[in-house]
């Protein structure tokens, strides 16, 4: 009898303990769940969005994007900027700003940051700033940034990754490694602690130059499993979650407590085509691929409508987008005809490579595309790649056939989404002869890269986009949406640049 009483008491005590788990909602704090833990807090050492989201809140950049019109610059630590001569951009800096450790922000901080950015081989963001030669301090709050060739998108470069301003005195005191785990910035949130794979905690910077942020404490939790993230949100363990997959949207909506926030991003999903030789070197074959795939159906069935079809690799968010270019219509008859004209009436073998979980629904997408290609007489062979294998094939330009990719420009410019990859020195320069030196396409892109005349750049890019569409060096699919989800009491809007800016979030 005693045993039964003991067991019952123990059971009840455990149960009571369990019941106390329900988290209390605090209007002053916010828990955000992302798909992965950060790897560093040094903004020059990572470029993945789950890392960047922390950078954008701990640090400020010289400029940032207008949240209502991503791609349009607004001031942050710079109050104004102008092109002094074709090789020099001058920035006037905000005065009275301090880093979290009390160190003043001034032209020396910018020079220190730029010197770091243009040092090759020691960090991960060099490529974004490789046009810069040096930074010259004019006075305490004025700095000149000098480029090797004219760089029309120099200012935009500072709005993307790597543009966060660093504290020179603090970094000299500690070292880069310590800085990566105990960061100091000028941003609206100060670093409190990072327990790896568990949480990163930030607190509001009471002396922030724009005013104290509304939410006092923010905890970032890594929850890798998609379902577990949604469960944490509906349970109230998190108030905001990122990367909701389209299959889970209805679950969020049905819960009643929460809503999804979604918006178009500048991520385009395409199959890169290795067109160096073989049947895929033939433009008609590449066009046939584009006619053979029913993009609307894919968007509806695999992505629940959270995407729009595209007619070239340039998203509508980027400078140089040409609205006159429409997506290739789904036309299997035309596809067959083009294959026949190219001399492949009996079909052609095409490899399709993608990851499994690298991009949203990638394996399913490849299987769907393969079925559609089969319908027009193409013999597809689908391969699944592990992330690093995929990267190696990209690097060596040796992938056979088609490879799924989602290029995007961090500067919201055609130069970033096309020419950084395809131009001379770009990682994909070799895979399509249409972008080699001597072609009209090459000339348009190279000219636009170094001219400060905005109208000329726009004309060049729009013409290049037409060539890109007609020559079809990619199988164009869609421009994707970002889907986040929040508790109803949270005021939050998803941004096209995928950033979570805590300063703009509050409770109703």
């Amino acid at each position: 009898m005693q045993r039964i009483v003991l067991a019952t008491t123990l059971g009840l005590a455990l149960f009571a303990g369990v019941l106390t788990v329900e988290p209390a909602a605090a209007q002053e704090s916010l828990v955000i769940a992302q798909g992965a833990d950060i790897t560093t807090l040094d903004p020059t050492q990572a470029t993945q969005i789950h890392n960047l989201n922390l950078f954008y809140n701990i640090y400020d950049a010289l400029v940032t994007w207008d949240p209502k019109d991503i791609g349009k610059l607004v001031p942050e630590l710079a109050v104004s900027w102008r092109s002094v001569d074709p090789l020099t951009w001058q920035f006037k800096l905000r005065q009275g700003v301090k880093f979290h450790n009390g160190e003043p922000f001034n032209a020396e901080s910018v020079k220190f940051t730029v010197d770091r950015l243009i040092t090759k081989g020691v960090h991960q963001v060099y490529g974004g700033f490789s046009t810069i030669e040096r930074a010259d301090v004019v006075d305490a709050y004025t700095i000149n940034i000098v480029t090797g060739k004219p760089d029309p998108i120099l200012v935009k470069r500072f709005a993307g990754y790597g543009g966060q301003m660093l504290p020179p005195q603090y970094i000299k005191q500690v070292d880069w490694k310590t800085f990566g785990i105990k960061p100091v910035g000028t941003g609206p949130y100060k670093f409190v602690e990072w327990v790896k794979d568990e949480r990163v905690v930030l607190e509001a910077n009471a002396t922030y130059w724009r005013g104290t942020p509304k939410i006092k404490k923010v905890v970032w939790r890594p929850i890798p499993d998609n379902f577990a993230r949604v469960a944490a949100l509906t349970r109230g363990e998190a108030q905001l979650i990122t990367k909701v997959i389209p299959d889970h949207v209805s679950q969020v909506e049905k819960a009643g407590c929460c809503r999804v926030e979604h918006t178009l991003t500048n991520l385009v999903t395409v199959y890169l085509i290795n067109a160096q030789k073989g049947p895929l070197a033939n433009t008609k074959v590449r066009q046939a691929l584009n006619y053979a795939v029913d993009k609307d159906k894919i968007i509806k069935e695999l992505y629940h409508g959270y995407a729009i079809p595209i007619g070239s690799g340039i998203p509508n968010t980027d400078f140089g987008y040409n609205a006159k270019i429409k997506p290739y219509p789904y036309d299997p008859v035309r596809a067959r005809q083009l294959l026949a004209e190219a001399g492949f009436a009996n079909g052609v073998d095409v490899d399709i490579q993608s990851g499994n979980g690298i991009h949203l629904n990638d394996r399913q997408l490849s299987e769907a595309v393969a079925l559609m290609l089969q319908d027009v007489g193409i013999r597809p062979k689908v391969g699944v790649l592990e992330p690093s294998q995929r990267s190696q094939l990209l690097r060596t330009n040796t992938f056979p056939g088609l490879l799924l990719a989602d290029p995007a420009s961090t500067t919201y410019d055609t130069d970033g989404v096309i020419w950084r990859l395809r131009g001379p020195g770009g990682i994909l320069h070799q895979i399509w002869p249409g972008n080699y030196e001597g072609t009209h396409f090459y000339q348009l892109m190279e000219e636009a890269r170094v001219t400060l005349d905005t109208q000329k750049r726009l004309r060049n890019y729009q013409e290049a986009a037409q060539i890109w569409h007609d020559e079809a060096p990619e199988l164009f699919l869609f421009q994707g949406e970002l889907i986040d989800a929040v508790r109803n009491e949270v005021k939050y809007q998803a941004r096209g640049d995928q950033r979570i800016i805590l300063y703009d979030i509050s409770y109703r």
Partner: protein, 306 residues
């Protein structure tokens, strides 16, 4: 005993050397960390510069030599993604992994032993059928399914436990149950079959003939003799649970070594994978050593010889 331990130490070194060499070769031949570190639109110039600064432009043999020299000094290098010492990152996660693996194994033993013994002692009864059925279910249900179902029921529908995370005993319940499901089933079957084999032995018949109570016969004379294969499995399972809890750690966002390792493998973070594999190999080797020592205790006929 001393000779035995010395010989084991020799074996351990050989095993660790082979494991590290294999990991080094496989990692270096199948992927490239530089591409995983840089943004997807990085230029060739950037890629080459980083490759050079990481020493990855050197011939593989040179890199291997440097790697062995470092490891011999106990230095596993700095994680490429985290920019922190690799072994430190693994060590930070080890307590969480130990806690989860230990709890799961403890749970498995607590459930599997009585279940297996009862099933064997009452062979053919309803209880036996039930135990065998449950064991088949536990062994065949994939861990991601078990985990998600538990989360759905325990956290979403009943709202009894937190969905994921680490820190309190409540956080441990679902991951431990999930992880324990397979070893519980496997061990229950093993206990049952081991017991059945021994229950027919001559010495058990003698024990019964001497008029010993059945409980005594089962627990003293049968269990100890049936324990050898169980001990072997427990030793191996601990290693498997420690490093193989990847799916479970991903679902419940448990900050263990498995999760660290899988991201490190994805990103070809060479130093981090090497450090993690080294630790895992050590756990297996130590587990085997403990099993060997247990054999001698369980069966006096076994002599620990080099």
């Amino acid at each position: 005993m001393r000779d035995f331990l010395l010989a084991k130490l020799g074996h351990t070194l050989i095993v660790l050397f082979c494991v590290l060499t294999l990991v080094f070769v496989v990692l270096h031949l199948t992927g490239d960390p530089v591409m995983m570190m840089l943004p997807s639109n990085a230029s060739r110039e950037e890629i080459d510069a980083l490759t050079k600064s990481l020493g990855l432009d050197q011939p593989l043999l040179v890199q291997y030599g440097r790697f062995l020299a470092r490891v011999a000094r106990g230095d596993f290098g700095v994680s490429l993604q985290h920019q922190q010492p690799a072994m430190g990152l693994v060590a930070e996660r080890l307590p969480a992994s130990m806690l989860l693996a230990g709890s799961a194994l403890g749970l498995a033993l607590v459930v599997a032993l009585p279940l297996g013994i009862l099933a064997a002692a009452r062979r053919g009864s309803v209880l036996d059928h039930l135990a065998v059925g449950l064991a088949a279910l536990g062994q065949s249900a994939p861990i991601f399914w078990t985990g998600l179902m538990l989360m759905l029921v325990g956290a979403v529908v009943l709202k009894l436990l937190p969905t994921s995370g680490y820190g309190t005993w409540q956080h441990l319940v679902m991951p431990a149950l999930t992880l324990a499901s397979y070893p519980t089933a496997a061990m229950a079957r093993l206990v049952r079959s081991g017991m059945l084999e021994v229950l027919d032995a001559d010495y058990v018949r003698t024990a019964r003939a001497k008029g010993l109570p059945e409980r005594w016969v089962v627990l003293k004379h049968t269990l100890k003799n049936a324990a050898m294969p169980i001990v072997t499995v427990v030793g191996l399972q601990f290693g498997l649970l420690l490093g193989g809890a990847i799916v479970c750690e991903m679902i419940f966002s448990w900050p263990g070594v498995g999760r660290l390792m899988i991201f490190a493998i994805y990103n070809r973070d060479f130093p981090l994978v090497e450090a993690a594999v080294f630790v895992m190999a050590m756990v297996f080797v130590l587990g085997n050593l403990l099993v060997d020592l247990c054999y001698a205790w369980l069966d006096p006929r076994v002599k620990l010889q080099a």
